[in-house]
């Protein structure tokens, strides 16, 4: 059913339809409305779940680890400093192979303190073993939660997942969202039935120590699970499409890409701005296209190489910076195109909530065509 609703409330609604059995989260801007809404659902009896209130994010995700290990479908949500506080637990949840889903309302990391959007928080946990999905709009942000649970709980995967969407830009924006009914959600997402769970009658420990003879192999197995996840995501996304009409089988998605000579690559809400700009530029006769990265972990390197094979030049828009190196997305794209000779230029932009407008996209295309890139875009030289 079509609703016009705030992004956070749409996400909370979708999470509720996923029937999590245990929710534990700590409020933090701009994620707060999600967990407030879920707390209401539980308090009002709309959602039959245990809502564990905790003193901080470290405890929130730890509670989810226990719940998931005990066989419950577990959910959390956070952003920025909250995610940073969960760092240790993130690696443990992945290593214990617990399919927890966490919404990330992407926000910049301090210092300096910023409550505004960029994608540094989730990107900084790219090596933690969590699957990472990035949504362009609120429809996608809600739908990706069902898909994330399906993939994460697949017995061949068993990995936790972030569903990322840009803080404020999506989380606090009202958009029309086609919401599944509970029956539809149940048809797509059956209950969580893990083969192993914490049980006092049949004791088991999760995440035991591994000596140097074994640790490397455990990490290898996790990497294999990530590689398998590419197919599992494609299948889960396709099935979602056949049931509800919105196909998410592609890990990367082209927009007016087929004959594009100049291609912009980015993730998240920025894709919408880029699409509008492309439409305008196309009308002016410029061959510009977009490659949207929906899944950042596992990174769909082969899909990117295939999608960009005919490009003449590529601009990557990164709302993050691996300080002392480059943007995380650009590094992946360069890797995917290694040896192709296609020039890839990186533009660091939009950090800490700086607006990226259509005229900025046009300016970046102009820079790319002049071969200028690998730079911060939109620096205010007057304050430097």
């Amino acid at each position: 059913m079509m609703e016009i609703t705030e992004g956070s409330h749409a996400v909370a609604e979708a999470v509720s339809l996923c029937r999590p059995q245990v929710i534990s989260a700590y409020p933090i801007t701009p994620q707060t409305h999600i967990v407030e809404a879920l707390a209401d659902f539980v308090a009002n009896g709309k959602l039959d779940a245990e809502y564990i209130t905790v003193e901080n994010e470290l405890s929130a995700l730890s509670a989810c680890v226990g719940a998931s290990a005990a066989g419950s479908r577990a959910y959390s949500a956070t952003t920025s400093q909250g995610l940073a506080l969960m760092f240790e637990v993130c690696f443990n949840a992945a290593g214990m192979r617990l399919p927890i889903i966490m919404s990330i309302a992407n926000r910049a990391l301090g210092a300096p303190l910023s409550i505004w959007n960029d994608q540094q928080d989730s990107i900084s946990l790219r090596d933690s073993g969590w699957l990472q999905f990035y949504a362009e709009d609120n429809q996608e942000a809600t739908d990706l939660h069902y898909i994330a649970y399906r993939v994460a709980e697949d017995p061949s995967i068993l990995l936790p997942a972030f569903v990322c969407f840009d803080g404020f830009i999506l989380s606090h924006t009202y958009e029309p969202v086609d919401m599944l009914s509970q029956e539809e959600a149940d048809r797509y997402l059956p209950g969580f039935a893990p083969a192993e769970r914490l049980d006092a009658a049949d004791p088991i420990s999760f995440g035991m120590y591994a000596t140097p003879e074994y640790y490397l192999e455990f990490r290898y197995e996790m990497d294999l699970a990530h590689k398998r996840a590419k197919d599992v995501i494609a299948k889960a996304g396709k099935e979602f499409g056949s049931l509800f009409g919105r196909d998410y089988s592609a890990l990367v998605e082209g927009y007016r890409l087929d004959d594009a000579e100049t291609v912009i690559v980015t993730m998240g809400s920025l894709c919408g701005t880029v699409k509008d700009t492309i439409d305008e530029m196309r009308a002016e006769g410029k061959n510009v296209g977009l490659l949207k990265i929906r899944v950042f972990r596992p990174f769909p390197t082969e899909d990117v190489a295939k999608a960009l094979a005919r490009a003449k030049r590529v601009a990557v828009l990164d709302k993050n910076i691996s300080l002392g190196s480059k943007g995380a997305v650009a590094l992946e794209i360069r890797d995917a195109l290694y040896g192709s000779g296609i020039p890839v230029r990186d533009y660091i932009l939009g950090l800490g909530g700086r607006d990226v407008r259509k005229k900025d996209i046009r300016e970046i295309v102009a820079l790319l065509e002049r071969g200028e890139g690998d730079q911060f875009y939109g620096l205010r030289k007057e304050v430097l």
Partner: protein, 86 residues
């Protein structure tokens, strides 16, 4: 040992984990000096020292981590720690 997903383990797994590979120093027991007091067995944190049929004590190198507590505590200095060669 086949890898368990998520490094999960049932109780009693300590028997399956051959912790002897951690060892850098190997305790060598000299039964000529040994007074059969059993202090080494009592203090071994791994519980891997047992009494043989003649009343002497022998370590199980499959599990001995080489901590050296037995050698330090032996009142007869009958246990010598020797560097492992791997």
């Amino acid at each position: 040992m086949a890898l368990a997903v998520g490094c999960r383990a049932r109780p009693g797994k300590a028997r399956d984990n051959k912790t002897g590979s951690w060892r850098v120093f190997r305790p060598i027991f000299d039964h000529e000096k040994c007074s059969k007091c059993g202090m080494c067995r009592t203090l071994c944190p791994e519980g891997c020292i047992s009494e043989d049929k003649d009343g002497f004590f022998i370590p199980d190198y499959t599990y001995c981590k080489g901590c050296g507590i037995c050698a330090t505590e032996c009142p007869k200095e009958a246990i010598e720690m020797k560097q492992e060669e791997k």
